[in-house]
């Protein structure tokens, strides 16, 4: 009797959250999967009886869509180049702020962290002007070092690096904090013992800091990767995917097909491919880091 009451009470406390998640998260995931096997378009939106089951047709079309490959390539570029750069900057700044020689840590931390809380759309607009080839502050500062003007957002070769630079600036402070938490969890005695054994600071870093940070790094690696795969607002406000599709991303492609042209069946297949790739990359990363730890 007592036990069954506890069960009932527990489910009552869970009910609001679980029903919200079921209706607005889990059912839509399944529905999206089903949608990706249909030709849902603007006509079906008006009258559902126009809806046809098309099997794998959307996925077949996807494979033959050069724009999809371009978007996939750009997104992978963003993840594979931007992710590690961002994590390394986070680690570097975390180590700097952990140094015993530094005072006013709170002030520096505030400066480094401020971009994280800002609105991506608003700062992407700011950076669009900073990147202006003639009037932008960035080219102006580069000119002090004799570097000639770069057409950051107009040159297909530079547009992706420009997006990555903005993303690193915006995000590195977040992982920096997590690294700091990880560093603070390393017992001081380990370093003391190493010093007594005559280990230099680089050796201490290699044999203590890096292995002790492994769980933190796994968490950061995974969350950063998943976040970077969802690359969207930067190209949306800065370049609309241009120049010459140099910055079109998977999510931007999904948005355009789904909500601009209302070809939602096709758009759903784009979304699912994104999900599959994230899943694949996560599994690979988990395996790799587990392998490295053993």
């Amino acid at each position: 009797m007592k036990k069954s009451t506890t069960q009932t009470v527990a489910w009552m406390f869970l009910a609001p959250a679980l029903s919200a998640l079921l209706i607005f998260f889990f059912i839509p995931i399944i529905a999206a999967f089903a949608l990706s096997f249909t030709d849902f378009d603007i006509y079906s939106l008006g009258n559902i009886s126009y809806l046809r089951f098309v099997g794998f047709q959307n996925y077949v079309n996807l494979v033959h869509d050069p724009l999809f490959w371009k978007a996939l390539g750009n997104t992978l570029y963003f993840v594979i180049a931007g992710g590690p750069v961002s994590v390394l900057v986070s680690l570097g700044t975390a180590l700097l702020l952990q140094s015993r020689l530094v005072k006013y840590k709170g002030v520096f931390r505030f400066f480094f962290f401020a971009p994280v809380v800002t609105t991506l759309v608003a700062v992407a607009i700011v950076w669009r002007y900073l990147y202006h080839p003639r009037f932008g502050l960035i080219n102006f500062v580069l000119s002090w070092f004799g570097i000639s003007a770069v057409d950051w957002l107009g040159d297909p070769a530079w547009a992706m690096p420009a997006m990555i630079l903005l993303a690193v600036w915006k995000n590195f402070g977040y992982n920096m904090l997590i690294f700091i938490a990880g560093l603070q969890n390393i017992p001081e005695e380990l370093y003391e013992a190493a010093r007594i054994d005559g280990a230099g600071s680089f050796q201490q870093f290699r044999t203590i800091t890096i292995p002790m940070l492994a769980p933190t790094s796994l968490f950061i690696g995974l969350t950063t990767m998943i976040g970077y795969f969802q690359f969207f607002a930067e190209p949306y406000v800065m370049t609309q995917g241009g120049p010459q599709y140099a910055t079109i991303s998977i999510v931007l492609l999904m948005y355009q097909h789904g909500f601009r042209w209302w070809s939602m069946g096709y758009s759903a297949s784009v979304a699912f491919v994104l999900f599959a790739i994230i899943l694949l990359f996560s599994i690979v990363q988990l395996r790799m880091q587990k392998g490295a730890a053993e």
Partner: protein
Amino acid sequence: MKTTLKKIFLYVLLMLISVITFTPLLWMISASVMPSGDANTFPPKFFPSTITFEHYITLFTRLNIGRYVFNSFLVSLGVTALSTIINSLAGYAFAKFRFRGRDKLFKFLIASMIVPAQVTMLPLFLMLNKMGLVNTYWGILVPGLASIFGIFLIRQYALSLPESLIEAAKIDGATEIEIYWRIILPLTKPILVTLGLFTFMGTWNDFLWPLIIMTDDAMYTLPVAVGNLMGEHAPDTELMMAGSVLTVLPILLVFLFVQKQYIKGIMAGSVKG
């Protein structure tokens, strides 16, 4: 001597990074009070030649930005209030009740965090369209009612609450709701504040979902409105900067006052449980 040199090097490096991280934000504020055309000169100006608030006035009088500020505050506060309560109920249940399938269900929820939100957006739009919630505040509120991350955060915190407090209240004859209301809520207040901050900032800064669900421009949130302004007013650098300031400043101010809570939350969220 060697430490002094090292110290100087460290401080120079830290200040250099601070300049890089803060300059874009300072330039945004500075350009927003420049007279029209001031931000498009060569060499670029960092400080305005004269200070003017005309762009802010234009935004409020001609471009209706007050409405977007209101929309953003309303949906951010609404999502924050509702989801904090809902997540806290569930987080408490996962931490302190023993029921069949608890650990499996919790693991399943955590694993499903890997599904990107974008996957759900197409069916969610169609569903809310059927329910007549497209282009209403509910269109943003309803999908934000519960979050797995929020449930996780509260569960981790509630795990550390002593069982004896709950037992003692039960012996005194308190009902489950009373225990939650009088004991659990006050004791989990720090994490609720943190989660509330996360949710407020996340909703305020969100772009893709409001862009999809708000089809009428009177319903836009600030990021969508400012992104939309970019279409017509891209050459008006100073006006766009004023719009960006209005979007970013409230959130920066909130952060300035509650830094500690926010930072604690990020660190807590990263600790595996």
